[in-house]
Subunit: 140 residues, 2 copies
Amino acid sequence: MYSIGDLSKKTGVKIPTIRYYEQMGLIAAPDRTEGNQRRYERRELERLSFIRHARDLGLSIEAIRDLVELSQHPEKPCTGADAIATTHLASVRAKIAQLKKLEHELERIVSHCAGHTVGDCYVIRALSDHGLCEGSMDEV
Amino acid sequence: MYSIGDLSKKTGVKIPTIRYYEQMGLIAAPDRTEGNQRRYERRELERLSFIRHARDLGLSIEAIRDLVELSQHPEKPCTGADAIATTHLASVRAKIAQLKKLEHELERIVSHCAGHTVGDCYVIRALSDHGLCEGSMDEV
DNA sequence: CTAATCTCTCTAGCAGCTATAGGTTCAAGA
DNA sequence: TCTTGAACCTATAGCTGCTAGAGAGATTAG
Ligand SMILES: [Zn+2]
Ligand SMILES: [Zn+2]
Ligand SMILES: [Zn+2]
Ligand SMILES: [Zn+2]
């Protein structure tokens, strides 16, 4: 039997976050002591580790809820689980691509400032005028 | 004189967002008509474009507030502006690095699933056991 | 003048927590 | 057994950067 604090120490998930996950339906409401405090078993420790790992990989609460649901049915085909991971991978890649555009643009802007005063600072000018951007990229 | 809708169309910033920026102190409260509607001038159009561009580059509201402040003082040295951009570039790079770790790990996990059922799905197993992660990377 | 379209303020909601306040319970030492 | 201090409880508000809605008032073209 673990208290919520034990669980927190063992998984690295903060106490309020554990309660939040319970509220969000990622972990079931556990048994309580007579005094109304949560008491967990090993099962819940494992599930919380699962959740933490999934969060560290950037999966959303909703995706994790689905994965947890799936993991309760070992006989089902795993296409659903695979699809969740694959979709997430795609979104990670999309975000990387977008951030690289930003990186590129910021690099250019930062390196072009030869000014000494705000009046002729390239950073300020570049922000004021998107036309100065490389090929006037869409957005950015 | 532009209405808030005009400003919105010209800059691509949605109307509630413009009001939000006003509330956040990025743009000054403009003059009003007798009927209490906002009326803007070219100055504000330019500032809003500046803000939009900065947001597109991922700068925070707070950073933008500082940049706007700085841009009001053309005679000051531009080290502050440059520092904001440089710091932001660093944080973009850090985020890219982190996302690449995720990408790498997700790639590995997704490609390893040869299972057909949830019971032997590598995705589920990998999430359950961080030890399966490459060299047990910290986090992720 | 009327109808259609803006615009106004205020409030609440999104994700994923985190922090506080004000109270109760548990566990260990004397 | 009693006491104290740590841990726990609920409920609520806050964070970022918007976005959506309600319900009321303003503007403008015909
Ligand atoms: Zn500069
Ligand atoms: Zn640009
Ligand atoms: Zn699988
Ligand atoms: Zn891992």
